[in-house]
Amino acid sequence: MADLRSRITLGRAVVLVVALGALFILFTVLSAVDWRTGGVHWPFFLRWDNLVDLAGSCAINLTLGVGMTFVIIGGGIDLSVGRLIALTHVVLVVVANATGSFTVGLAACLGCGLAAGLANGAVSVRWRIPSFIVTLGMMMVARGLAMVAAGGKSVGADIDSPVVVQRFLPIAVSLVVVVVGHVVLARTVFGRHVFAVGGSPEAARLCGIRVGLVRIVTFLASGLCAGLAGLVYWSRNSLGDPLAGDGLELYAIAAVIVGGTSLSGGRGSVVGTFLGALIMGVLQYGLDSMLVQPRWQWVIIGAVVIVTVLLDRLKRSD
């Protein structure tokens, strides 16, 4: 591994790990105090159940974030993934309900994500339309199709996810996605091509890299991740909800940026996205469990996104 652009810089890694650790300690301490009586007890934030739920709550953003990392490093953006979750998991539920087979439903769900990713990539590459526009359109199409597939209302799943699946499948899926994503991006020829294409498409073309194909594959990866996130959504809720996923694409993009991936492409890492998504996930979950009102959560999470990037910038200019 010689390519420095694909490694998370040490400075960035330190900032992220310290931020993550600080948040974790903060919530642990807060959870040990009984605010009404002023008494102190064992911090519930450290309980096994709570840690499992915390990891589960990060799963969707992690899964989407890895796909988004590929797209952004390749010089694109994918705004469709949030609404694609709605489409893919509704398809999973509807198909599984109709056929009685979960496997068929899952295949349809992943196929649906891949098809949307292919459409995003192919249209933006073939006709040179900025991916911002194509995926913005796909976001609306996916929202509409999710409504169509669900028949305009939430559909209950005939195959419910048992409590064990509910709790551990999200974690398993997201960890596999992170590991596979990291290996593909940092250790394979294809991964190196993604960096080349995002860094300088012209130079990549002159080196004999098939720029268009590489870009299409990054969108396929993002679509597949949206399909897997749909699986996670089903496992957590046993429901086909056509309104799900609203705004999650922005959370995924924020996790990628906090993780140090450059929005202009050609630079970034899955490890960074992993840490970025964890920071946002711990923050949101922690604020929720401290019963902080949602209106303040927006302010705090937004500020943390800005501050993390700012800290990194200051560190680099030292």
């Binding site: 301490v29 040990a32 009984d34 009404r36 008494g39 102190v40 007890h41 064992w42 911090p43 519930f44 309980r47 159940d49 709570n50 739920d53 589960g56 709550s57 969707i60 209302k153 939430s154 559909v155 209950g156 419910d160 996810s161 409590v163 509910q166 959504y233 957590r236 809720n237 046993s238 429901l239 909800d241 309104l243 799900a244 609203d246 979950y285 929720d288 469990s289 019963l291 009102q293 949602p294 209106r295």
Partner: protein, 320 residues
């Protein structure tokens, strides 16, 4: 900071924690901890509900822990709140579900932890709950049929007073979203009231709860039925649209218009004499009943499957 200082800090913290009670244990003399999880935190209806619940909790000496999602529909986020509350070791959960089907799966954990569930506002899907084996202590909700019947009967009485001998009264009905439980119940309530009063329903259509759509629908229905005496609207927002339509035909004050929800704009319309009645759903009482029922469930009392929240007719006399 040196690593050794960190270790000291962590050890000190662990000792403080270990020295105190291991966990908040329920029992004699301890305050009960009950969670309220709701949706649409910006909606005045739910804010009133939260206020009612908090006041009741203070009165009964219960610790109420409140969390809500900002939207009406963020099912996954609300499921997270359920998990949070269970990890906080609350003893009972009061929930206004964002999805009547989707909430069942996350609530199964509460059943496993023997935490009673009190359902308010939007009823948890009974079939789904039965399939997954979820037991709900009670459902506390407004009786939409009763409310619509009440305000519908009030409108029919007013209409009858203006009728000449031998003349038959005619009304229009503006429905909410078809297929949704409260919309269907209100429509049935209006129809029952009209039937009981011997008044004919000249036209009935959905305006999807929206003011602008109600304006359009009422105009169209009145064009086809120029001689109607009243418009029964399944919510106040649609009543405002009906008022605009009636005004445009110069018949304001002659046609009886009623709504549902008792929103501020409806009260103003009643003060002006444009509107003649609405229904207060008592969200504060719903919240208070939620706390009461959760406490009863904790004490092992058995509760009825459904606990109706009384609805109240509001007329122009009430707002003056």
């Amino acid at each position: 900071m040196k690593p050794s200082r960190w270790i000291v800090l962590v050890a000190a913290f662990a000792m403080v924690c270990a020295g105190c009670q291991d966990e908040p244990q329920p029992g004699e003399g301890r305050r009960r901890r009950i969670a309220l999880i709701y949706k649409a935190t910006t909606n005045p209806f739910f804010q009133a509900m939260e206020k009612g619940a908090r006041e009741k909790a203070d009165e009964l000496g219960v610790d109420l822990e409140v969390a809500g999602i900002p939207s009406e529909t963020d099912v996954d986020r609300q499921a997270n709140l359920v998990r949070n509350m269970l990890n906080r070791r609350v003893e009972a959960i009061i929930i206004a579900p964002a999805s009547s089907v989707g909430i069942v799966t996350p609530l199964l954990r509460a059943r496993e932890a023997n935490v009673p569930i009190v359902n308010i506002d939007n009823r948890i899907d009974t079939d789904e709950a039965k399939t997954q084996g979820l037991k709900v202590a009670t459902f506390i909700g407004p009786d939409n049929f009763e409310g619509a019947k009440k305000v519908g009967a009030h409108a029919c009485n007013l209409i009858k007073k203006t009728l000449k001998a031998g003349q038959k009264g005619r009304v229009l009905i503006l429905r909410g979203i078809d297929g949704v439980e409260n919309a269907e119940a209100r429509r049935a309530g209006f129809e029952a009231a009209a039937k009981a009063a011997g008044i004919e329903v000249a036209g009935s259509e959905s305006a999807h709860w929206h003011t602008d759509e109600a304006l359009r629908v009422t105009s169209a229905l009145m064009a086809a039925n120029p001689d109607v005496h009243g418009v029964l609207c399944a919510n106040d927002k649609m009543a405002l649209g009906a008022i605009a339509a009636v005004k445009a035909r110069g018949k304001i004050g002659q046609i009886i218009i009623v709504g549902y929800d008792n929103i501020d704009l409806a009260r103003e319309a009643m003060k002006r004499g444009d509107m003649h009645g609405t229904i207060e759903q008592n969200p504060a009482m719903m919240g208070a009943l939620g706390v009461e029922c959760a406490l009863k469930a904790l004490q092992g009392e058995s509760l009825p499957e459904v606990t109706p929240v009384p609805v109240q007719l509001i007329t122009p006399e009430d707002v003056k």
